[in-house]
């Protein structure tokens, strides 16, 4: 079971209050987790990745196990701790402003 942490605004859109848990077939990659997330919660399509290019929106980042995965290719395998469900995959709204 993959645990996904969403930013608060996306939790509101998805009508969830805590972490999201997803069944994802092996191999577990950036792409397969986000595909599974958008299949379960279609209202999130377009809010994390572009509908067609699937490129990450500029102000969002992907983290797992204290690693910034934002610039990794979509077929990058996620760390074992994420695959085991011990650590979450985090979609983070980048802090901007000041």
């Amino acid at each position: 079971m993959i645990r996904v942490v969403l930013p608060p605004h996306l939790r509101t859109l998805a009508h969830v209050t805590g972490d999201v848990e997803l069944e994802v077939d092996s191999p577990v990659t950036l792409r397969s987790v986000l595909d599974a997330l958008e299949t379960r919660y279609p209202m999130l399509r377009g809010t994390i990745r572009d509908h067609d290019t699937l490129q990450r929106r500029a102000f969002l980042r992907y983290f797992a196990c204290e690693q910034d995965l934002s610039h990794e290719p979509p077929d990058t395998h996620l760390p074992d701790a994420v695959v085991r469900g011990a650590e979450p995959f985090i979609v983070l709204g980048a802090i901007a402003g000041g």
Binding site: R45, D52, A94
Partner: protein
């Protein structure tokens, strides 16, 4: 007794303000869609319980929200949770926040670039929906004006959107350019007497009209003068801020341009300036009295470099002669130390016998006048910056 429902979009959510026909006591509900920019929020005249909202964010992009019960509950009109996003034959289902520019050769000659700030050509990129205009007849049909400038239509209640690509494809696109707020299609006016006719306006391209339901469009900017365009007869490139029309006279249009207040008596074919004695003719909003089609309202703003009201006084100016002769309306409005702006979609009129006028400011106030502008009262004072104000008159 009639009621009014004022729909307010702000930088950080939406609010619904309701009152009876006296328009003295108000109930304020919200915020809805907390923390998101609500660029526009409008109800269907065919079904007042059908509301559409454009919810947008620099982080998360565009979301379309719909209510079928007058704003009590909301949903994104796309695929329900848990349901496949593909049809049985593998085609993607409609998605309410998917605005894809038409690039097919069959439906026009879509352009791929417009002029950018530095004068180079730049590809069209979808950013957000600025304006949602529900059909006058069908609650499931709604038009969206978007940035980068284009018009889309949904005929399934916002579930899926298709571009009316003849607008971008008609030939002048490479001369369109973004204003300071982006290259946005912000005004959509539907002709109640002719369902094939639509007017739109773009900053900074100008005004356009279709007479065939959106297949083909023509620029209608003759008579507009813009200091920054060397060619006095430029067909496009004008920074039109807003256009208003009284439904009883669809051929008569009033425009607040970047500078200059203009009118057209021939459906936009020709424009003439009616700024008259305004203290400054820069501004964003313009609207028309419901029952007096020669009575129009603007809020003069000091300049394009100082986006706040002139002399620290919040004054709505009213002309009862279709322009040129203007009177300041100040009763109930702050007349010192006021430095707010009133953005282009932030004024509306109701249809009650004594026309109500409403506007919102970047300082978060929403003012109402139940006597056509003679006097004003704040409904609320401390909302986030107001982006849009619309009103529904309910029986």
């Amino acid at each position: 007794m009639s009621k009014v429902r004022v729909l307010v979009g702000t930088r950080k959510g939406a609010f619904i303000l309701t009152s009876d026909g006296k328009r003295e006591k108000w109930d304020v509900s919200g915020p809805l869609f907390t923390g998101w920019e609500i660029y526009h929020f409008k109800g269907s005249s065919a079904d007042p319980n059908r509301l559409y909202a454009s919810q947008t964010s620099g982080w998360f992009g565009q979301v379309i929200q719909r209510s079928d019960d007058g704003g009590k509950t909301w949903h994104q009109p796309g695929t329900p949770p848990g349901e496949s996003t593909q049809t049985p034959d593998g085609q993607p289902k409609g998605e309410s926040n998917k605005f894809v520019y038409d690039a097919s050769p069959e439906t026009g000659k879509p352009l791929t670039t417009h002029q950018f700030y530095d004068g180079t050509q730049h590809p069209w990129e979808f950013k957000r929906v600025w304006h949602l205009e529900p059909s006058l007849k069908d609650p499931n049909t709604v038009y969206a004006g978007v940035e980068d400038a284009a018009i889309f239509r949904s005929t399934d209640g916002g579930v899926s959107w298709h571009e009316l690509s003849g607008l971008r494809g008609h030939g002048t696109g490479p001369k369109w350019q973004p204003g300071a707020g982006g290259m946005c299609l912000h005004t959509i006016i539907l002709d109640p007497s002719n369902p094939q006719r639509i007017w739109i306006a773009i900053s900074a391209a100008g005004a356009f009209r279709t007479d065939d339901g959106g297949k083909s469009w023509k620029p209608i900017n003759r008579g507009l003068k813009s200091q920054y365009i060397p060619d006095p007869n430029a067909e496009v490139g004008h920074c039109v801020h807003h256009i208003a029309m009284n439904p009883s006279r669809p051929g008569v249009l009033f425009m607040q341009k970047h500078w200059d207040v203009m009118r057209s008596d021939d459906a936009g074919e020709n424009w003439r300036e009616v700024s008259g004695n305004l203290p400054t003719d820069f501004g964003f909003v313009i609207d028309v009295h419901t029952h007096e089609p020669e009575t129009i309202y603007v809020v003069p703003i000091k300049s394009d470099g100082e986006h706040f009201v002139h002399e620290g006084k919040l004054r709505v100016y009213r002309s009862r002669s279709g322009g040129n002769e203007w009177e300041p309306l100040t009763k109930g409005l702050p007349q010192s130390n006021c430095y707010v702006n009133v953005l282009r979609d932030a004024m509306a009129v109701d249809t009650l016998d004594k026309c109500g006028v409403y506007f919102g400011t970047t300082g978060g106030q929403v003012y109402a006048s139940a006597d056509a502008g003679d006097s004003w009262n704040p409904i609320v004072r401390d909302l986030p910056a107001v982006l849009s104000v619309e009103v529904q008159t309910l029986s």
